[in-house]
């Protein structure tokens, strides 16, 4: 009953505070959109390539929307040309050998050139093959014609003589087709498609992070407000249980966290057409658990802050490191001690579970280990909070 009173009050206060509402519901969408466009633009960069004495067919093959080719003299110096014309790479051909000099000041440009080069060379090979098959096809067709006329003649002759069998036999052996298979490559992607970017892959983790960050901040600051304005002391001068206060907070802010998660997930799925292999409900459940951890952690941390400013100081200390260990940076390649450190951050488990569900289609049972640990975090912090309120009232 008293818990409901606290839930109602938390909801009412939040609904009155339009700016905080906007922060919770619109800010994640804004940041998501911004990141979406930032990472999309990556694919439109163009690398300038200088060529000297390069076979024209190869130059043609190198051309694509990511390369810009310019021809220079046969004896142009690679280093000076790159510097003078701000090229990503310079290609020189001599006696059928290619020498490529990369500027390498932008690793992404170097990658583009390497890709174009590889693609170009393959394209040439394929073209050669296709040309070969074409000529063979023509030969084949010609021989088929020959065969036809021969057959016709044979029939005529058969009627007249019936003795030219040997001639047709020799023609038959030469027309045996020598086809080279014309490979077409079909690619399959487990998650996303050929247009997938960094954004698509890490979106699930980003969702979890937003929920965690905003819920942490808002719950922490609102409880801090209760402490500094004296309402917390006033609350504890009523027969309310300490657990009822914490539960009321968890439910009240938990509801907002659920709404926030639903909005951001729906936004990502509909507006950006992001693929989710696993169940959306499971994604919501993981985010809800993350929100619970963030809530209890925010309330707990607010004990150590005396002002909103001090609360904000905990962000670089507690929130930023969690981003590093949320799975955006591959954890399995980190040094051992860092991998060990990752395990103390709740977002490590949340990020792991979200990635596995969204990009690998894991089921509830497959990520249950992560979920139990998140639940443990939430319960542990909640217990600490209930004990911590003893500072204000002994029972």
């Amino acid at each position: 009953m008293r818990t409901i009173a606290i839930v109602k009050r938390v909801l009412r206060e939040m609904l009155r505070d339009k700016r905080t509402l906007a922060l919770m519901f619109i800010a994640p969408l804004f940041i998501l959109s911004l990141m979406y466009f930032l990472f999309q633009n990556n694919s439109t960069s163009v690398a300038k390539i200088g060529v000297s004495n390069v076979n024209t067919s190869l130059v043609k093959a190198l051309k694509n929307k990511h390369t810009d080719l310019a021809a220079y003299g046969d004896h142009a110096n690679a280093k000076t040309t790159i510097r003078q014309h701000n090229l990503a790479a310079f290609i020189h051909e001599q006696d059928g050998k290619l020498t490529v000099t990369y500027s390498n000041s932008q690793p992404s440009d170097t990658a583009l050139v390497k890709q174009a080069l590889q693609g170009g060379v393959t394209k040439l090979k394929v073209q050669a093959l296709v040309a070969a098959t074409k000529t063979q096809k023509q030969v084949l067709q010609q021989q088929a014609k020959v065969l036809k006329t021969v057959m016709a003649q044979q029939q005529k002759l058969q009627a007249a003589q019936g003795t030219t069998r040997g001639q047709t036999a020799t023609t038959g052996t030469t027309t045996k087709p020598k086809t080279v298979p014309n490979y077409t490559v079909t690619s399959h992607y487990l998650y996303g498609n050929s247009d997938s970017t960094f954004f698509d892959t890490f979106l699930p983790v980003l969702l979890g992070f937003f929920v965690f960050f905003f819920v942490f901040l808002i719950s922490g600051i609102s409880l801090l407000n209760e402490r500094t304005t004296g309402t917390l002391t006033r609350l504890l001068a009523t027969p309310v249980r300490r657990g009822e206060i914490i539960t009321g907070y968890l439910i009240g802010y938990g509801l907002f966290a659920v709404i926030q998660t639903i909005i951001t997930v729906t936004f990502a799925l509909t507006v950006f057409n992001v693929h989710m292999l696993g169940s959306v409900w499971l994604i919501l459940l993981i985010n809800f658990l993350l929100a619970m951890v963030a809530l209890s952690m925010g309330i707990f941390i607010s004990t150590f802050a005396n002002s909103e400013f001090q609360m904000v100081q905990f962000i670089p200390l507690l929130i930023v490191p969690q981003v590093f260990f949320s799975g955006i940076i591959t954890i399995s390649t980190m040094p051992d001690w860092l991998q060990w450190l990752a395990h103390i951050f709740p977002l490590y488990y949340g990020g792991d579970a979200l990635m596995n569900v969204a990009t690998r289609g894991f089921s509830l049972s497959a990520v249950s280990g992560d979920l139990w640990i998140l639940l443990f975090f939430a319960v542990a912090f909640t217990t600490l909070n209930v004990i911590g309120l003893k500072r204000y009232r002994r029972v």
Binding site: E13, T233, R234, A237
Partner: protein
């Protein structure tokens, strides 16, 4: 009533090296108004919080309504008004009253009629649907008092209830307190205002954590051979300082 509403025995409390309360004892029977007077930092608020069970004491006991504090259930029978207005600014006065009423265990129609009644007492009926952030200091004080009265408690503990309230409304509030007293409620008030002290049935002077004097206003005036409580206060303080220098 044989059993006192508040029974404080030999309570002592110190924060670090700073001694806030020294062996304070106090009894408040039902139907009486007791005033705690003393300068800022005398330990009045600490004593009040010790009675509520919100402050841990180093020694001694505090008993409220026959139950040793801290006790959560007894909180329901105490109407408390804190020194600072602890109100939810984004909510309206009515929502604040409703919230604290629900926490005190008042529900349904009882709560609705109680809200109407306490709003009348503190003269906020017309202002009930306004947000607290739009309230003046005096209005906030009155709302805090209304919250203390919401559950119709047996014991009222009011920490500086009339700061920032104009004289006319102060008269009204004291009239209401007198009525509550006649209904058998016990009231403990801390105050700076000497003319309020005169209205109490009993006074306790606290200075530097020590109970300097205790008795009815008239008794105290006689004891110190002065005309007003203010003079009692000043004289008692002087005597304390002299004793201190003698030691």
């Amino acid at each position: 009533m044989a059993q006192p509403m508040i029974d404080v025995r030999n309570v002592a409390k110190q924060f670090g090296a700073n001694v806030v309360l020294k062996q304070i004892s106090l009894q408040l029977p039902a139907g009486r108004v007791m005033g705690l007077i003393g300068p800022s930092g005398a330990g009045k608020t600490t004593l009040v919080k010790a009675i509520l069970g919100m402050e841990k004491v180093d020694s001694g006991t505090t008993t409220v309504l026959g139950t040793e504090m801290p006790n959560r259930q007894i909180m329901q029978k105490i109407g408390y008004m804190a020194q600072s207005d602890a109100l939810y600014e984004t909510l309206t006065a009515r929502e604040n009253l409703r919230f604290f009423g629900e926490l005190m265990g008042v529900t349904g129609t009882a709560l609705t009629s109680s809200i109407t009644h306490v709003a009348q007492v503190v003269n906020l009926t017309a202002e009930l649907n306004r947000r607290v952030s739009a309230y003046s200091g005096g209005m906030k004080r009155r709302l805090s008092l209304a919250i203390a009265l919401i559950a119709d408690p047996d014991l009222l503990i009011l920490d500086e209830p009339t700061v920032g309230i104009d004289p006319e409304l102060r008269q009204q509030i004291w009239a209401e307190l007198r009525q509550l007293k006649q209904h058998g409620k016990a009231i403990l008030v801390t105050t700076h205002v000497m003319d309020e002290a005169e209205r109490c049935d009993e006074l306790m002077l606290i200075r530097e954590g020590i109970a300097l004097a205790q008795g009815t206003p008239d008794d105290l005036k006689q004891e110190y051979a002065v005309d007003t409580i203010e003079q009692v206060f000043l004289k008692a303080g002087r005597l304390q300082d002299e004793n201190h220098s003698d030691r």
